[in-house]
Amino acid sequence: MVGVIAASSCSDTTAPPAVSPAATLATLATLATLATTATPATLATTATTATPATTVTVTVAATPATTVPSSVTSLVDAVVTTLGDLLTEAEVAEVEQALDELDLLLGEIDADLADLADVTDL
């Protein structure tokens, strides 16, 4: 374990923008890299990402000259992996709604094409 931290914690209190799970994953991957490669200068990171109505905050805060143990970086890696598998209610609901609307549309088309022989037996 080689990462070294020398900084106080910091945080971002502003409302986080909507960020995709992929962006969340990228941010946490960067954090995991920092935790293992930081120089003695500084490592104080708050990564705040969100989908609508959801916030994930990961904070690394330490006193000067503290070495990050491997167990911590393993934990960060685990969080990165977990977030990569997230599904959202909105995501699934959007798929269901799209399929329902498609069914409805196709049913309407079928209705308009029904009984044409009766109507057009010209």
Binding site: I5, S9, P21, T51, P52, A53, T54, T55, V56, T57, V58, T59, V60, A61, A62, T63, T66, T67, V68, P69, S71, V72, L75, V76, V79, T82, L83, D85, L86, L87, T88, E89, A90, E91, V92, V95, E96, A98, L99, E101, L102, D103, L105, L106, E108, I109, D112, L113, L116, A117, V119, T120, L122
Partner: protein, 130 residues
Amino acid sequence: MSRVLRGASVALAVALAVGVSAVGASAGGVVRAADGDLRVRLEAACARIPAADQRISVAIARLDAPVDERGSLAWFEAAIERATTTGRPHIAADLERRFERLTDRRAVLDVRLGQLERIVDLCAERGVPT
């Protein structure tokens, strides 16, 4: 492990734990894929794709067919003209209403087809068979 080091580790672990817990607990928000319900719902939705795709293809093929195929948009136009010229205004009006609705719905089919392709991609990304 030094006390300072242990403190830093605990702080990070707690921050991570709180963050992940918040994700799981968000009402209507993000949950883990392994948390069953959403995964099951996505699998059910993805399983509907083949039938939906086939129905779209059939509908587009029929609406876009040439004038000699009953139910195509071209056939409707010809049938409306025929009904009008042979003095059958009610039939012509009925065909006209259907033709207008079907023309609109034909355009929507293209939009829905694009949506369906994106859903197929999503299912593949999530490792859910379609």
